[in-house]
C-alpha cells in the first residue's frame, strides 16, 4: 500500500485497475459460469419419469454416453464435419480475403456484400433455400440430370454432405473477415522486399504472406469450427438421420424426450470435446505463431 498526500492508504495502481474487470467478470459469471454449473449439476442427477430428475446423484449418464457406440459415432461425425467445414471455409475464404485486401477496385465493396450475404438472410429461410437446391428434385439434381451426367438423383439432403455444404456457405464470412483484417495489417513493403531479393510470387506468398496471416487463419478456423460443431438448425433440417450431429441429438434428449440429466451430460461432453479440439489446434499452431515477428 502507498499513501496519498492526505495520508490515506491507496492500493497499487494494478490493483486499483481491477475494478475495470468487474463488468466482464459479472457477465462471465451470469452468462457462462452459472449456466454451465447448472448444466453440470443437472448432468449428475438421476433420471426419473416421475419428476424432472431423481433424488440421487450419479455419473451413469456419462458412462452410458461414453460407452454407447451410437453416441460416439455422432460425436465423431460432428467433429469430422466441423473440421471439414473449417478446412473448406479456409480454402475458399483465403483467396477472397487476399483479393479484398489487395484490391483497389471500385467493385471491392460489392464483393464485401457478397461475402456478408449469407448472414443477411434469416437462418431458417437460408436453410430452406438449401433444401430446395439440394433435394432429390432440387436445382443441383435437375441440372445434372438435364446435362445427362446422372441417371438417379444424388442424395445430398439428409446426408452429412448437405450439412457441410450449407455450413461452409454460412460460415465463410467468419474466415474472410478476421483474415482480411490480418492481411490488411501486413506491411506491403515486406513482400516487396522479398520480391526485390529475387523470390518468386509463389515463394513470397508461401514464405512471407501466409506465415504473417497465420493469426487471422487461426482466429477464423477456431470461429468456424466452434460454430460448426454447435450449429443446430442446419443439421436438423438438412442432415436427417445420417447427418445427425451432437447438437441435434442433445436437443432431442432435452426438448423432445425431456431427459434433462442425460441431455445435460451430452451437452457437457460436447463442450469438453470442443475445448479439447480447440486446445489441440491452438497448441499445433502455437509453434508456427511463435516464429512471427
Amino acid at each position: 500500500m502507498t499513501e496519498t498526500r492526505t495520508g490515506a492508504p491507496v492500493a497499487p495502481q494494478h490493483l486499483r485497475m481491477l475494478w475495470m474487470l468487474a463488468p466482464a467478470f459479472v457477465l462471465l459469471l451470469l452468462f457462462f459460469i452459472l449456466p454451465y454449473v447448472s448444466i453440470a449439476t443437472m448432468s449428475l442427477r438421476e433420471a426419473s419419469t416421475r419428476a424432472v430428475h431423481g433424488e440421487g446423484w450419479t455419473v451413469s449418464h456419462y458412462t452410458t454416453a461414453l460407452t454407447d457406440a451410437y453416441i460416439l459415432t455422432v460425436i465423431g461425425r460432428t467433429v469430422l464435419m466441423g473440421g471439414l467445414v473449417t478446412l473448406l471455409a479456409l480454402l475458399l475464404g483465403y483467396p477472397v480475403a487476399y483479393h479484398l485486401a489487395m484490391s483497389r477496385s471500385r467493385w471491392t465493396s460489392l464483393l464485401y456484400v457478397c461475402v456478408l450475404s449469407p448472414l443477411l438472410v434469416g437462418l431458417v429461410v437460408r436453410t430452406f433455400a438449401w433444401m430446395i437446391i439440394l433435394s432429390n428434385n432440387g436445382v443441383v439434381n435437375q441440372t445434372l440430370r438435364s446435362l445427362g451426367l446422372i441417371d438417379f438423383p444424388l442424395q445430398l439432403m439428409n446426408t452429412p454432405a448437405g450439412v457441410v455444404i450449407a455450413l461452409t456457405h454460412v460460415f465463410l464470412p467468419f474466415v474472410v473477415l478476421p483474415l482480411l483484417g490480418n492481411l490488411q495489417a501486413i506491411n506491403p513493403e515486406v513482400s516487396m522486399a522479398a520480391r526485390s531479393l529475387g523470390a518468386s510470387r509463389l515463394r513470397t506468398f508461401l514464405k512471407v504472406t501466409l506465415p504473417l496471416s497465420l493469426p487471422g487463419l487461426q482466429a477464423g478456423a477456431i470461429l468456424v469450427f466452434v460454430l460448426s460443431i454447435s450449429a443446430y438448425v442446419t443439421p436438423a433440417l438438412l442432415g436427417g438421420v445420417r447427418g445427425r450431429t451432437m447438437s441435434v441429438l442433445i436437443v432431442q434428449y432435452l426438448v423432445d424426450t425431456f431427459r434433462w440429466p442425460a441431455g445435460a451430460a451430452l451437452a457437457t461432453i460436447m463442450a469438453a470435446v470442443a475445448l479439447i479440439a480447440v486446445t489441440l489446434f491452438l497448441l499445433l499452431t502455437a509453434r508456427a505463431m511463435r516464429r512471427l515477428p
Binding site: M131, V241, T257
Partner: protein
C-alpha cells in the same frame, strides 16, 4: 442547462413510473395462455382472445411457442408455473402429468365439457383434448396413380417404395404411427417390436421434424405419400398445390391438444373459464374454419363446403385412433433411442 442530482433523481423516478404503466395496464389478469405460432397465433389474437375477454371480462396474456417450450417453462417454474393452463400434444402433457404438475379440472366450472365427445376427456378429469387435428395419408395427386385408402398401402403400393415421408421420432406424429402400426400388425399399441420391424420395411424414407417439413418434401416431390395433418394439406390445397389427404379405412391419427390444469398455477378459476370458452361449440366451429381442426364439441357445426374437405367431423370423430399415453411415458426415452439407431 445544468443537471442537478435532484433533477436526475426526479427524472429517474418519472421514467420508472412511465415504464411501470404498461405493466399496470396488463395486470388485469395474470392468466397466461400458451398457443402455437402461425395460423394458431393469428386466430388467438384476432378471434379467441377478444371473444374470451368479451365473454368473461378476463384479458389473459398470450404466449406463443411450442408444446415442448411450455413443458420446459412449467418444469423450470417448479413451485410457480407461469401457466395455470397447459396446452400441448397429449403424449407431451402425459410427461408433466406423470411428474405431478397437473391436477383434475373441476367439471362444474366447465359446463361446455358436457358437449365434448367422451373419448377426449381423460379419466378423472385429468386433462381434456380440446383441439383435434386429424392426421391422414397425404399424397401427390399428380405423381400417384393409385391413391392410398389404407395405412397398409404404405407397404403394399409399389408406387410409394422409397418415396414415403414419415415424421421423425421427436414429433408426436412418429409415436402415433408406431402405436398404430403396433395395433395394425401386432398385438396392440404397445407392441413396439412389431411396429419397428414393419416401419423398417419402409426404409429408406424421408423423415420430417414437423408437418411443414413433410409438406415441403411433398411439394418438392421428394416424397409422394406421407402421414400429414389435415391443416397442413388444406393450406397447401388453398395455394393450389397438387396434394390431397385421405382418411384411411382403419381410421385416422390425430394431434390432440391436451389442456391441463397446472397445480402450481395461480389463476385456476380463470383457467377453467378459458378452457370452458374454448370448448364451446361456437369457438370449436371457428377453429375448424380458421385452421381445419375437427370440432370436439358435438354441438359445433361446419358449413357444407368445409365438411366436404374436412370429413373427420360429427360421427366420424369415432374414426380417430386415440391412445393412452400415461403408460407410454416410462417407455418414451427407450423408444426414441431405438428409433435413432434403427431408422437410419
Amino acid at each position: 442547462m445544468t443537471l442537478t442530482r435532484r433533477d436526475l433523481l426526479a427524472a429517474a423516478a418519472a421514467s420508472s413510473a412511465v415504464l411501470a404503466l404498461p405493466r399496470a395496464a396488463a395486470a388485469q389478469s395474470t392468466l397466461v395462455v400458451p398457443t402455437y405460432g402461425g395460423l394458431w397465433a393469428q386466430f388467438w389474437e384476432s378471434t379467441l382472445m377478444p371473444g374470451f375477454a368479451a365473454a368473461t371480462g378476463i384479458q389473459p396474456t398470450l404466449d406463443v411457442g411450442l408444446g415442448r417450450d411450455f413443458v420446459a417453462r412449467v418444469r423450470a417454474g417448479a413451485g410457480g408455473s407461469p401457466y395455470s393452463i397447459f396446452m400441448g400434444n397429449e403424449n407431451i402433457a402425459a410427461v408433466l402429468r406423470a411428474e405431478g404438475f397437473f391436477e383434475a379440472f373441476d367439471m362444474s366450472l366447465l359446463p361446455n365439457a358436457a358437449g365434448v365427445y367422451p373419448q377426449f376427456i381423460n379419466p378423472g378429469s385429468m386433462g381434456i383434448r380440446a383441439i383435434i387435428s386429424p392426421i391422414g395419408l397425404a399424397y401427390r395427386t399428380d405423381m400417384v396413380q393409385t391413391p392410398p385408402s389404407s395405412w397398409t398401402d404404405l407397404w403394399e403400393n409399389p408406387e410409394f417404395r422409397g418415396r414415403t415421408g414419415l415424421y421423425q421420432i421427436g414429433n408426436t406424429g412418429a409415436v402415433l404411427l408406431l402405436r398404430l402400426v403396433g395395433q395394425l400388425y401386432g398385438s396392440g399399441p404397445d407392441d413396439f417390436d412389431t411396429a419397428f420391424a414393419k416401419l423398417k420395411e419402409l426404409l429408406p424414407f424421408t423423415q420430417a421434424s414437423w408437418s411443414g417439413e413433410a409438406a415441403a418434401a411433398l411439394i418438392r416431390g421428394d416424397v409422394v405419400v406421407a402421414p400429414v395433418d389435415w391443416t397442413e394439406i388444406m393450406i397447401l390445397q388453398d395455394k393450389g398445390a397438387p396434394v390431397a389427404v385421405v382418411a384411411p379405412q382403419e381410421g385416422v391419427l390425430a394431434f390432440e391438444q391436451s389442456f391441463n390444469l397446472v397445480a402450481t398455477g395461480t389463476e385456476k378459476e380463470a383457467a377453467h373459464a378459458y378452457l370452458n370458452y374454448l370448448l364451446s361449440a361456437e369457438v370449436q366451429s371457428q377453429m375448424a374454419s380458421a385452421f381445419y381442426t375437427s370440432p370436439c364439441n358435438t354441438g359445433a357445426t361446419v358449413d357444407a363446403a368445409l365438411a366436404q374437405r374436412l370429413p373427420i367431423i360429427g360421427d366420424a370423430m369415432s374414426q380417430i385412433r386415440s391412445f393412452d399415453w400415461d403408460s407410454y411415458v416410462p417407455e418414451a426415452a427407450a423408444i426414441a433411442d431405438r428409433w435413432n439407431r434403427e431408422m437410419g
